[in-house]
């Protein structure tokens, strides 16, 4: 039975939340390197309007199961001390953070490669959906197949 960790955060991921999770690792004195990726909602032009927010939804049970598999694979592939993944659900305004990947290791190579692999794999394999709300009241469905 795999342990499921909390993944989804209601709304934007705040800088304070990130600071707290960094601070928690200061007791782990075998760690020499942390690598962090943050995804931020871009105010892109989409058709006739500009993105004002993204409303995220997900197949939550499947996403958590998939993330738990991805997490296990990452611990197998890379020599990591810690790994954390958070994604927003519901509305996140442009300029706010919706995706947070954090890995820690003794040396920088492991956490660097892990974060890069985690971000790419999660974008490709985890069932999260995004409705881009435009300023003109219209919307557009975000798709990771458009830009990789």
């Amino acid at each position: 039975m795999k342990k499921k960790k909390k993944v989804f955060i209601d709304g934007a991921i705040g800088p304070d939340f990130i600071a707290e999770s960094i601070a928690k690792h200061q007791t782990k004195k075998e760690i020499g390197a942390h690598e962090i990726f943050l995804g931020q909602v871009r105010a892109d032009q989409k058709g006739t309007g500009i993105v004002q927010a993204i409303e995220f939804s997900a197949h939550e049970e499947m996403a958590e199961e998939k993330l738990s598999e991805i997490r296990e694979l990452a611990f197998d592939k890379f020599n990591l001390s810690c790994m954390h993944v958070y994604h927003s659900i519901n509305k996140v305004e442009a300029g706010q953070i919706c995706f947070y990947v954090f890995a820690s290791s003794a040396h920088r190579k492991d956490c660097r490669e892990a974060v890069s692999w985690l971000v790419d794999t999660i974008k490709k394999e985890v069932p999260i959906f995004g409705k881009e709300i435009l300023e003109n009241g219209q919307h557009h469905w975000k798709s990771n197949t458009e830009v990789l």
Binding site: G39, F56, H59, K123, P127, F129, N144
Partner: protein
């Protein structure tokens, strides 16, 4: 047998619902259910993949069982 059908993202927007329960005859496969849903909601021009019990599958000949979950999922957009 009862099959739980779930819709996500743009597909849910087109179906107007997040889920429904279908009662099907024993012996139905994924093809049967997909054809019914495609024509009911006019999904022919919509890109989606199907997850059977939370696993993406392209094998539409898979036989369905009572209480299976069939999810219609548009392109992923996490991150």
């Amino acid at each position: 047998m009862n099959i739980r059908i779930r819709y996500f993202g743009q597909v849910a927007e087109l179906t107007g619902t997040n889920e429904e329960i279908k009662n099907l005859d024993i012996g139905c496969d994924l093809n049967d259910i997909e054809s019914e849903i495609r024509s009911k909601y006019e999904l022919d021009n919509t890109y989606y993949r199907i997850a059977l019990n939370q696993n993406i599958t392209d094998n539409k000949e898979t036989m369905l069982n009572d209480n299976d979950e069939v999810a219609f999922m548009p392109p992923f957009a996490g991150g």
